[in-house]
Structure formats: C-alpha cells, structure tokens
C-alpha cells in the first residue's frame, strides 16, 4: 500500500484549478459577445468539440466532456514539466518534504489510471451498444473470419488490451523521458559547480534547457492531444455495431 501522495496531490490540485477556473468562466459567461478569457476557454471547447465531431460517430453526451477533461488535465499535468525541475522540490524541502515528484504524468499510476478508465468506458459501451453476445462474437470472428477462431480470440484480446496499455505507456514514456532530459540538462551545470568549467557548462545548460523547453511545449500539447483523440477513437469504435 504505497500512496504516491505527491502525484495525487498535484494532479487533484490541477484538476481543482481547472474546475474552479472553468466554473468561474462558465458562471460569468454571456451568450452575447464573449470577453477575453471566455473566448479562450470557448476556443478550447470548440476545438475539442470539433475533434469529437470529426472522429466520433453517433451521439453521446459523455464523450465531449471526457475529451475536454483529458485534454486540459493532461496538458496541465504535462505543463508541470516546464517548471524548472528543482524549483518545486526545493520549496518542498523547505516545507519538510524529502521527495517530490512534480509531474503527475511521469507517474505510471496516473497515466495507466486514465487509460484504464477509458478502457472501462470502452468495455461498457461495447457491451451496451453491441450487447454482450455481440461483443464476444467480435472476439470469435473478428480479424480472420470464423475458420480461425482460436487465433481470432488471441488477436482480438491482444488488440483490446494493447489499447489502454499503449495509451497509458505512451504518455508516461514521453513525459518521463522529457523529465529525464530536463534532469540531465540540469545536471550539466551542477557537475561543474566548482571550477572554471562552469564558464562553459553554465551557458550550455541555459541554451540546451531553452531548446528543450521550446520543444517540450510542443510535446506536452501533442501528447495531451493524442491521448484525447485516441480516447475518442476507441470510444467511437465501441459505438460502431458492425466491425
């Protein structure tokens, strides 16, 4: 029973931030001409709505808020990556925390939890739309037709299980690797903390850090977007009856 309290606390804090800010915007919103921040929030909403409309067949009122939650929450958690790696742990150490993992998406628990929730939803809608029989039939007959039943079962099972796994591991891997690179770049200056080498290593660290930061802005957005789109696509596949 290990509780990764840092992960839980930061992710919930970011989720709360999202809900509070979004709720305030929604409360003060008008259906007339929207002001600055409302406009921004609405453009995100519209972006998500477009994605859902493009890749989701049929209508399900849960999909759009789910996609919005994933996109914004994952983006916010990924964004913690852009805060200088040692800053929050340092502040934590002043408060008496010996160890602090800042980016919740570098914790496999977070990404797999989200992937599993999505997996649960796909299972639920698969059974709801196709019926339990229909869903099981997909396992029996799906890739190769009815003459290769055992192979079909194995193939479809792998396919179904690979969806949440790849979903969770992709986000985790990208974020973890990104954080690791930030740590390595941060170590550059630290390794030469004493001595004349600092003159070379310190500017190099600044330049590398900046480059990786700029690149990472793209990565965190892209990963949040991929997670969202794949969720929509998986759920859309669950909603189509004939496969």
């Amino acid at each position: 029973m290990t509780w990764n309290l840092d992960t839980i606390f930061i992710s919930i804090a970011l989720g709360a931030l999202m809900v509070v800010v979004g709720g305030r915007v929604a409360r003060n919103a008008t259906d007339g001409v929207p002001g600055g921040f409302q406009n921004f929030v609405e453009s995100i909403l519209e972006f998500v709505q477009t994605q859902v409309k493009d890749s989701f067949p049929g209508h399900n009122p849960l999909i759009a808020p789910l996609a919005l939650t994933i996109f914004v929450w994952v983006w916010l958690m990924n964004f913690m990556d852009l805060i200088p790696v040692d800053l929050l742990p340092l502040i934590g150490s002043w408060l008496g925390l010996p160890y602090l993992k800042v980016v919740p998406t570098t914790d496999l628990n977070t990404t797999l939890a989200m992937a599993l929730v999505v997996f649960g939803l796909t299972l639920f809608y698969n059974i709801k739309v196709k019926g339990l029989g229909g869903y099981l039939k997909m396992f029996l007959f799906h890739p190769f037709g009815k003459f290769a039943m055992p192979a079909n079962i194995v193939m479809t099972a792998i396919e179904e299980v690979a969806k949440p796994l790849s979903l969770g591991l992709r986000l985790f891997g990208n974020m973890f690797a990104g954080e690791l690179v930030f740590l390595l770049i941060a170590l550059l200056g630290g390794a030469a903390a004493l001595g004349a080498g600092l003159l070379i290593w310190f500017p190099l660290q600044v330049v590398l850090d900046l480059a990786w930061l700029l690149f990472h802005i793209l990565v965190i957005t892209l990963q949040a977007f991929i997670f969202m789109v794949l969720t929509i696509v998986y759920l859309g596949m669950a909603h189509t009856t004939d496969h």
Binding site: W3, A29, T69, W73, L108, T110
Partner: protein
Amino acid sequence: MNITVTLFAQMLAFGLLIWFVNKVMWGPLSGLMEARQKRIADGLAAAEKGKHEQELAEKRATELLKEAKDQAQEIVAQGQKRASEIVEEAKDTARAESERIIAAANAELEREVNQAKEALRTQVAAIAVAGAEKILKREIDAKAHEDLLNDLAARI
C-alpha cells in the same frame, strides 16, 4: 515507478474530474455557445429577411414612381390640351367680338354718312334755291318748286 494503490486513487480522481468538468464547465458553456449560435443564426436569417423585404419595397417604390410619372404626364397632357382649347375659345370669342365691333362701326358709319347726306341734301336744296334766286334775280316760289328741288337733292 511501481503500480500502487495510487492507480485507484487516480482513477477515482479522473472519474470525479470528468463529472465535475461536465457539470460545472462543459454543460453551462456548451449550452451558452449553442444559444449564441442560435442567436447568430437567427440574426442572419432576420438580416436575410430584411434584405428581401427591402428589395420588395424598392421594387414597389419603383412601380409607384413609374405610376406617378405616368399620371403626371397624363395630367400635363390634359392641361396642355385644355390650355390650347382655352386659347382657341378665346380666339373664337375675340374674332366674334371683333366682327361684332366692325359690324357696329360699319352701321354707325353708314348711319352717319346717311345723316351727312341728309344734311347735305337739305343744304344743297337751300343753296340751289339761293343760287336760283340770285341767278333769276327774282323771287321764285319755293313752295311751287319744292318737288323739283327735292328731286334735285336726291340726285346728289
């Protein structure tokens, strides 16, 4: 890096967050956006309708203008006709009047001429009598020769 009970905590948090986002953010905001879309669509439709109505009104105005022009032309033509009629009438009247005046003048003239002739006649008779008196150096009975004198005066 191990999978721990955190996984379940995160799953719960994720589920709750979806619910919250739907309730607090997505629901109201998407409702608002739909309302705005509807309002914009309504506004565009109204604008289209207004444009159409304006076109109709313009068409009607052109028709009215044309009608009015036609009427005005008719009225002007009528007026011109009436004016020429009046002028003709006036000319006729004037002609009649002038004829009447000329006739009256002629009558007057004739009357005066006759009067003058009459006067002349009497005077000539008197002169003739006086002349004859002088020529004959004797008294002629005017009464005895009145018929003769009258005949003479009538010949003048």
